[in-house]
Symmetry: C2
Subunit: 208 residues, 2 copies
DNA sequence: GGTCATTGTGTTCATTTGAACTTGCGAGCA
DNA sequence: TGCTCGCAAGTTCAAATGAACACAATGACC
């Protein structure tokens, strides 16, 4: 898709953005590669834009936008507890944010992505422990075996969604916790797509 | 710390960065607030910089750096395998990147941060499974009980660092794996600070 | 009353910066 | 052979942009 040289230019732009926090100007790119003219740079930028690796704001300074900042990084709100409906999610219930790049999250564009802080060890056998932050997506197509956040008795719990004999139930991944068979409807708030765990150095984590 | 007006300016800059991907110029800030002169903007920028809410690259266009992009988000390289010395880490051995915000990672500024993809189930009892990405920091102060990446026989392995009777050894968190007592020196490449797991929906993950 | 930080206006300047035009070279292709 | 495409040099322009200088109003604090 890109020639080697074109990739070099793109990577230089991205690394400058990461390291200095600002986009390089055409002349800075020129000098880095030792070009005697800016025209070369202009051509690379034009090509990269045409191929979709770059967005430019015409006539503005340092106005290059690479997928690094535009597509990849998502700011995900962490909720302590999810109330009844997704509609009632407000800024108030947000505990904090995690920023992750889209690829490491597997997030699709359509669904709303959010995060929950895990409390308790009911999913310990799925290697999800107390304090972990699970990233979920509000999607419709729940599949058998997915780990989901569901609303049971006004509380949000994380369980595995299991379909058996045509009827779904929620399975805790810990023999000490009971499975939940929904009385009427099952309200799925999100499907787990990713997990983030802080590991404070120096504090030994208990083993199960 | 900041006056209301100063906060307004800072928030405008940050929201432009998030939405458009580029930093506003002084004139854009000026027009947004309806100032008749750029000098007002210059004063705000000066104040914000003095108070530490902003970094500026003098004489460069759109070169404002706010904590949004500078402090919070770190781009962490993922290595498949770490060769002998940290010095030999090059772009070539990088498998990809994860972007995380500094807070969720607990990363300190001094140490180099990097990531490793976990292979095998030797840390299963610490709830680290095959395919997980562990974020590590290259630091000197390894403490008893930390999970570390260490170099053993030319291979990088993830183990728990345990100090016993004044002598350190590496403990696998899986009864099926042996502990490693270093013959001579123990080469710690990094201390685990965080973990990221992708959970592909629809594919049921095996339990231990 | 005096000092200081904050918030402004009005104006001017030098630099930075994106962009356009022309020319040249070599590789691959019909 | 002629054609396109990637890569690059050389030159020039106009717009975008940060920065400086002088002046002024307001409110807090002593």
């Amino acid at each position: 898709m890109l020639t080697e040289r074109q990739r070099d230019v793109l990577e230089f732009i991205q690394s400058e953005q990461r390291e200095k926090g600002i986009t390089p100007s055409t002349r800075e790119i020129q000098h880095h590669f030792g070009f005697a003219s800016q025209t070369s740079v202009m051509q690379y930028l034009g090509t990269l834009e045409r191929k979709g690796f770059l967005d430019r704001h015409a006539r503005k300074a340092r106005a290059l936008i690479t997928p690094v900042q535009k597509v990849r990084i998502t700011d995900v709100p962490i909720y302590g507890q999810i109330p009844a409906g997704m509609a009632t999610l407000t800024e108030q219930t947000i505990e904090g944010h995690v920023s992750l790049d889209t690829r490491s999250v597997n997030a699709s564009k359509n669904g709303k992505t959010f995060a929950l802080r895990v409390r308790g060890d009911s999913m310990i056998d799925a290697h999800i422990v107390d304090g972990d932050i699970v990233i979920l997506e509000d999607r419709k197509d729940v599949q058998n075996g997915d780990i989901v956040a569901a609303l049971i008795d006004g509380e949000t719990t994380l369980k595995r969604y299991v379909m058996e004999h045509g009827r779904p139930y929620l399975k805790a991944e810990n023999p000490l916790f009971p499975n939940l068979v929904p009385a009427r409807e099952l309200r799925i708030q999100g499907v787990m797509v990713s997990l983030v765990r802080k590991q404070p150095p120096g504090s030994r984590r208990k083993r199960s």
